[in-house]
Amino acid sequence: MSVFIPLGVLDDAVIRKIAEISGENAGRCMQCGTCSAVCPMVESMQPSVRQLMLLLQHGQSGAALEASTAWTCAACHTCLVRCPRGIDIPRVMEAIRQMVLRENLDRINPRGIPAETLAAVPPIALVAAFRKLTA
């Protein structure tokens, strides 16, 4: 993927919004890429966690919210344990999800889950998925 640095003063509104929701400052990321290296879901996301942090730092909120990254994150907290800057990246991911979900936009349709899957999965899978992916 390509990342553009727009001309003019960088817009940090999205960084401030994320801090408001999650208490985390995504601007502290130093782009070392440890998060992407340890992320168990990284091969299924586009862009990677590091790239998403860069998008946020460049004020590219549209691209950050449309990216699959936060929606593929499983909140495993591995990046949090390994981040040398001590950034609670799972909270940044939660803030991105919340910025979309608070517009009443669900990312999973409960009625679209096949009946046999509903019958098979443990209740905590349903509760967790609806907590993370529905408004």
């Binding site: 408001e20 929701i21 999650s22 208490g23 168990p40 879901m41 091969e43 299924s44 929606w71 593929t72 499983a74 909140a75 495993c76 907290h77 591995t78 949090l80 344990v81 609670d88 799972p90 909270r91 991911m93 939660e94 803030a95 919340q98 990312r107 999973i108 889950i113 899957t117 098979a120 999965v121 443990p122 209740p123 905590i124 899978a125 349903l126 509760v127 967790a128 998925a129 907590r131 993370k132 992916l133």
Partner: protein
């Protein structure tokens, strides 16, 4: 000290094999816990937002129930319940502003300040009962069984609530050793099972299943033990989607192997709820009686 037991939703439905075997094991060890009355769902995941306290109500209510029961500790089996309750408890202990807001919001409840301690069942085994007492109580040591721990995420991360080191844990290895089995570490022991993405991004989830099963196979283990019903589903049951060569890798709740080793009644293990291969492995090793075939 009175210890309350919080089962959570899944332990009463899909994971009866987890609950029944754990409670039978405690009975065999002569250790008592009391199930909470009027418990509610913990929410399954700790809310990661700081500007909205709505999702903290459910876990805090559970903690208040434990306080009302006069318990000093509340224990859980499900890793997700453990993580959610332990983190909500820390919030109530450490964040005065949020604590006050939550207490004021729940006018129908007594105030809560984090007095109760949240402990995972494995911590009870390690810290209250002790590996030595378990060793001494073994009726059927699991000699020769190569068992690997699968910690997953919620027992270890974040480190503030982890029951062991987030990067180099040993509690399940020590547990396996205490049962007389051969503890075998493997490369994916602390990795994620894919969690709730089994519903939203099943292909990404299956990659996790494959990674964990292949890493375990590479270490030559006979079985995995774990403590999370979602891990059990993703690593145990989802193997049927992989069509892996060499048959299914058996996956057990840690309490099932404990119950077998302590000689608890086999009905408590409910192996019928496990994915394929679990019961068969123990029968083959002569650790349980072969089931009558229809």
């Amino acid at each position: 000290m009175k210890i309350s037991y919080y089962p959570g939703c899944t332990l009463k439905s899909k994971a009866r094999n987890f609950e029944d075997s754990a409670l039978a094991s405690l009975a065999a060890l002569g250790f008592e816990v009391t199930e909470l009355e009027r418990w509610n769902c913990c929410g399954a995941l700790f809310s990661l937002t700081t500007d909205d306290l709505l999702h903290q109500l459910a876990p805090v209510r559970v903690l208040i129930r434990a306080q009302q029961a006069g318990a000093g500790k509340v224990t859980t089996l499900c890793s997700q319940c453990y993580n959610t309750l332990a983190r909500a408890n820390r919030l109530m202990r450490e964040d005065e502003e949020k604590r006050n807001t939550l207490n004021q919001f729940m006018t129908e409840e007594p105030d809560y300040h984090g007095q109760v301690e949240v402990v995972h069942f494995l911590q009870l085994l390690r810290d209250e009962i002790g590996w030595e007492r378990i060793r001494a109580a073994l009726k059927r040591p699991l000699t020769g069984l190569k068992v690997a721990p699968f910690y997953g995420c919620m027992l270890l991360r974040p480190k503030e609530v982890g029951i062991d080191s987030p990067v180099k844990p040993s509690i399940l290895m020590d547990f396996i050793a205490a049962l007389g089995a051969t503890p075998t570490d493997f490369a994916a022991a602390e990795e994620c099972c894919g969690a709730y993405q089994v519903l939203a991004a099943p292909e990404a989830g299956l990659k996790r299943t494959r990674r964990v099963v292949e890493a375990a196979r590479a270490s030559g283990v006979d079985a995995l033990v774990l403590s999370c019903p979602l891990c059990e589903y993703n690593i145990g049951k989802q193997q049927q989607e992989l069509a892996a060569p060499g048959g299914a890798l058996p996956v057990f709740y840690f309490s099932q192997l404990l119950a077998v080793a302590l000689g608890a009644a086999e009905e408590s293990c409910r192996f019928d709820l496990n994915a394929a291969g679990a019961r068969e492995l123990l029968e083959e090793r002569g650790l349980i009686a072969a089931a009558a075939r229809k």
